[in-house]
């Protein structure tokens, strides 16, 4: 402190011990706060609110009518079932691969752990094209053989499930890996030395320890899966009442003329947005518990 006394007095107040409180009253902080709130308001809050408003612009009746259209009901059922299978596959796969990455050494482990993240940064259109090149019944590497064996993948639900599983692949793993790293294996080893089978020790020791992380992973994957658009668009063909998911329905209806179609597009969007925000709220409200020791 003695050197500071020798310097010319700083412009801030003399009570140096309370720098943080002094700063909180500074105009800089206010400006930053206002800029950030204005930015988020213009980019996210206001536009999202306007979609909710547009959905109910003609009152509740058209929205309820839209929800009863067979195409809409079908699209949401299909979306749910595709998302269900994709999440189920990713959860099983995610648990196994997280355990492998955290607890074992094997050649290619680092490459695998990096490759796991690729689906997050690659374009959904690229994902769709990649699956098309391999599984298309007409030109795909394996598609022809699979099709002659009676298994159609592209333009059918299996391809849509694969596309959805691809884009949401890392979400469960990225939740599980840090938790598994942290809990270590002591308790499991104790259980095993007391005679528990591997399955018992997994179900009674590991699973309870990772259940919250697993739940966040599943909720995030589900939200991502329900909203997948680009990859599914390429592999599904988007035929109404056959392979049209909710997001594809939004696109089709919005581009058609007429208030009714627009309201249908907005209604489906509103429901998808509602699910996304609910998933977000669930994740945000659950996560802090995990952070407390």
């Amino acid at each position: 402190m003695s050197d500071t006394l020798a310097r010319p007095a700083p412009q801030t107040t003399p009570s140096r011990g309370k720098v943080v409180t002094v700063r909180s009253r500074s105009p800089f902080r206010w400006v930053l706060r206002v800029v950030v709130i204005a930015y988020l308001f213009l980019l996210v809050i206001w536009p999202v609110a306007l979609v909710a408003k547009a959905t109910f612009s003609q009152g509740l009746a058209p929205v309820l009518d839209a929800l009863q259209q067979p195409e809409v009901v079908f699209a949401f059922k299909l979306t749910l079932s595709v998302a269900f299978w994709a999440v189920l596959i990713n959860t099983a796969f995610g648990i196994v691969i997280s355990l492998l990455l955290v607890r074992y050494t094997f050649p290619g482990r680092r490459a695998l752990s990096a490759m796991i993240d690729v689906p997050l940064s690659v374009s959904p259109i690229v994902v769709g094209l990649a699956l098309l090149l391999v599984y298309s019944g007409r030109t795909g590497w394996m598609g022809r053989a699979l099709e002659s064996a009676g298994l159609q993948i592209i333009y059918a639900p299996p391809g849509m499930i694969m596309a959805t599983a691809f884009v949401s692949l890392p979400l469960v793993i990225r939740e599980l890996v840090p938790v598994l790293t942290e809990i270590g294996t002591e308790q499991e080893q104790a259980a095993r030395s007391l005679g528990a089978s591997p399955l018992q020790s997994f179900l009674r020791i590991t699973l309870p320890a990772i259940k919250w992380a697993l739940l966040y992973g599943v909720v995030l994957s589900l939200a991502r899966s329900l909203g997948e658009f680009g990859a599914v668009k390429i592999v599904s063909g988007g035929v109404a009442m056959r392979t049209q998911t909710a997001t594809l329905l939004v696109e089709e209806r919005y581009q058609q003329f007429g208030v009714e179609n627009t309201i249908t597009a907005y209604t489906a969007s509103f429901i998808l947005a509602l699910i996304a925000v609910l998933a977000l709220v669930v994740v945000t409200s659950l996560r802090p518990k995990e952070n407390q020791p």
Binding site: D3, T12, R16, V19, V20, S24, F28, L32, R33, V35, V36, L40, P47, V48, V51, I89, F93, V96, L100, V102, R103, Y104, R109, S113, A114, L120, V122, S123, I125, V126, L129, A130, L131, L133, V134, T139, M162, A165, R174, T181, E182, G184, T185, R224, E228, I234, T247, V250, E251, Q255, S269, L272, A276, V277, A279, L280, V281, T284, R287, P288
Partner: protein
């Protein structure tokens, strides 16, 4: 507080844990594969190959199937080159905005206190959770033909910029936030008490500490930007030479049954995606070493 749907990618199983876990972290113990684990690895690798590796390799094989000349021609055809230029330039621009605004938002969320801050926490993650087609509709409602602001940016390049800006919002915020949370205000107070101006404190104390996180967030937001598709469908009109981005170009090649050209453009996006992952991996290892 750090609740986020976009957990920092920097956290990797074999890198050291992030600083906020330092205290509770136990040294990782790995063993060689047991037969059961080996079987598990075999099955998961089979699925991973069928789902991810083989299809992605198929893109590279298809792209090279016409030879180098065909590959080059596909990328330099005027319409495709225009799409690639637009995509890369808008993604760079958006990344720059995100570096500044993302850091500012993270700063406000961590250091400031005001009513409704928790609400902003949720708002940050909305673009990540919202289906991309809905994101397009959302932006269209404020910046489209029936905008209450009186602007109509639909089908213009501004729309592309806005769409990228919307979908990449969480990345820098969510990578910078945990680091900022760990940063001790005492160091800044010390600097200030030694006479450093706020600018000097920011440049020589805060910025170096945040740099790896900002770089990671920037890399993620660039990758997300160049690969964006869904939010543009309704918003940008996909006009050739004007608002058509790389993903849309790939799709129209696919619809025209020109798979080799589609794969050529896709290979560029794929290489960028993999490069970003590599950059993140290097950063996370470097940070881990310095912790």
């Amino acid at each position: 507080m750090t609740a986020s749907a976009v957990a920092p990618l920097v956290e990797r199983p074999d890198a050291a844990p992030s600083p906020n876990r330092r205290g509770r972290w136990r040294r990782r113990r790995t063993t060689a594969l047991t037969p059961v684990a080996g079987l598990g690895l075999g099955i998961t690798m089979l699925w991973f190959s069928l789902l991810v590796l083989i299809p992605l390799i198929a893109i590279l094989v298809q792209a090279s199937s016409g030879g180098w000349q065909a590959y080059w021609d596909a990328l330099t055809s005027p319409q495709t080159a225009a799409a690639l230029r637009l995509t890369v330039s808008q993604a760079l621009l958006v990344t720059l905005v995100n570096i500044v605004m993302g850091t500012a938002i993270a700063w406000v969320l961590v250091r400031d206190r005001f009513w409704g801050k928790q609400f902003l926490e949720v708002v940050i993650d909305i673009p990540f959770a919202l289906p991309t087609i809905v994101a397009g509709l959302v932006l269209l409602s404020l910046y489209g033909p029936s905008s209450p602001l009186g602007v109509d940016w639909a089908n213009t390049r501004v729309a592309v910029f806005l769409a990228f800006l919307f979908v990449t919002l969480p990345f820098v915020v969510r990578t910078v936030q945990p680091v900022l949370l760990e940063l001790e205000p005492e160091v800044e107070e010390a600097a200030a008490s030694l006479g450093a101006s706020r600018y000097v404190t920011f440049r020589s104390i805060i910025l170096p500490a945040l740099a790896p996180a900002i770089t990671s967030g920037a890399a993620l937001s660039f990758a997300r930007g160049i690969s964006e598709y869904g939010s543009l469908v309704l918003l940008s009109g996909n006009l050739p030479y004007s608002t058509e981005v790389a993903s849309v170009r790939i799709l129209s090649y696919v619809e025209g049954d020109k798979l080799t050209e589609a794969a050529a453009v896709a290979s560029i996006l794929l290489v960028v995606a993999v490069l970003v992952i590599v950059v993140l991996d290097i950063i996370s290892r470097r940070v881990a070493r310095h912790v």
